[in-house]
Symmetry: C2
DNA sequence: GATGAAACATTGACTCGGTATATGAAGTTC
DNA sequence: GAACTTCATATACCGAGTCAATGTTTCATC
């Protein structure tokens, strides 16, 4: 890697760190790109050159993980169902306390999450990125099965279980639970969530009989 | 209704009709709010007074329907499961060829859909509105069952089936099918989609045995 | 080690969506 | 018809993002 690329990387890192520090301090909407540029000692245009939009400053690092479920299905072992694959990958991520499934001890990660969930523009982007991940999963399933409509439903069901589990981790973390406490009953919760997807709603929430 | 209110309504209608005509003609992003205001013979400020954002000009009329599934569940008969209720309501809407489930003969409706799906900003809003509908459904199910996590998954599963069916209608309409043709095998398709949600993914797309 | 060509950062002016404020012109009420 | 309310307007403004032109580095080549 030449000096050029190293400088580029360093500049990008400086911008993003400056930006997030300002965001956490004063809120996403109360910091202008101009301010970020000044604080990071670059021009406003440079910020937009590196990161297409203001949201990208926060978003870039997370973006990869929205394709995780689709990747698990794509690379699954021949004897695994899609649900099996996603569940197994999810449990592995829980095991390693991966931040992408809502498990992180660091203050920074939690501040970042708070920032994202507390800012409409960022929250929207999370939803959209998640949607994209689901669509990719659906497209892959449709390739295997030939029915895009059913694949879309199946993908949404699988993603829903995964997302609900992650949200539950967030909720518990916000309630003050330690990561170890959350991990302790994660496998039970995971089993429960994916069971609903595997066995279907059937008589779920039927009032009378 | 006094003259004042009638004028207001008339102005709102004039703005929205002018706007959509321009959008359809030249694309959402290539029409500025100023142009709309000029063409509708009002000031830019007035447009924002009536419609909080540019997107609202297109969106307002559809907004109600994103709560349909939640309403079906909320008002269901005591012997119906949530899935039963949504399926029944959906079939009723198909029966009456309701545009909200993707069935419409009018050119205008199809142009509007094309506009929405072809514009990132509008497409995003559709997703978000749909998300909100799903969250409301989840909240209601959680009230009944007491488990928000499972309710979130169940709501997503139900919404997914419903949305996939609507998207399928769109696809077929885009492929040139007449509404009657689409309605003809709608009940079969509907049964199939909700069956997946009711019975679960189980061995769906398992490769080897 | 100087030179020329990419690559990159910077500048400043611009567009557009959206907001705040103050003013004016209606419609409504008495 | 005067007073009051409601609504539209003009105007000035802010921030995100784009564009075109102009520097400024880095790198390969001689």
């Amino acid at each position: 890697m030449g000096l050029r690329e190293r400088k580029k990387l360093e500049t990008a890192r400086r911008i993003v760190r400056t930006a997030i520090a300002l965001f956490v301090e004063r809120g996403f909407d109360n910091v202008s790109v101009q301010e970020i540029a000044d604080a990071a000692d670059v021009s406003k245009m440079t910020v937009f050159n590196y990161f297409g939009t203001k949201e990208d400053l926060v978003f870039r690092p997370m973006e990869d993980h929205f394709g995780d479920a689709a990747r698990a299905v794509r690379e699954r072992r021949p004897d695994e169902s899609p649900v099996d694959a996603v569940r197994r990958q999810f449990l592995e991520l829980v095991e390693t306390r991966d931040p992408s499934v809502g498990l992180a001890n660091e203050v920074f990660v939690r501040q970042l999450r708070e920032l994202v969930l507390g800012t409409p523009a960022l929250r929207d982007r999370v939803f959209l990125a998640a949607q994209k991940g689901t669509r990719d999963l659906a497209a892959h399933l449709a390739e295997e099965t030939g029915d895009l409509m059913l694949a879309t439903i199946a993908a949404a069901m699988i993603s829903a279980a995964r997302n609900a589990l992650i949200e539950e981790h967030w909720r518990r973390a916000d309630a003050g639970d330690q990561v170890d406490t959350i991990v302790a009953d994660a496998s039970e919760r995971t089993a429960c969530a994916f069971a609903l997807v595997e066995q279907g709603l059937g008589d779920y929430a039927r009032k009378a009989q």
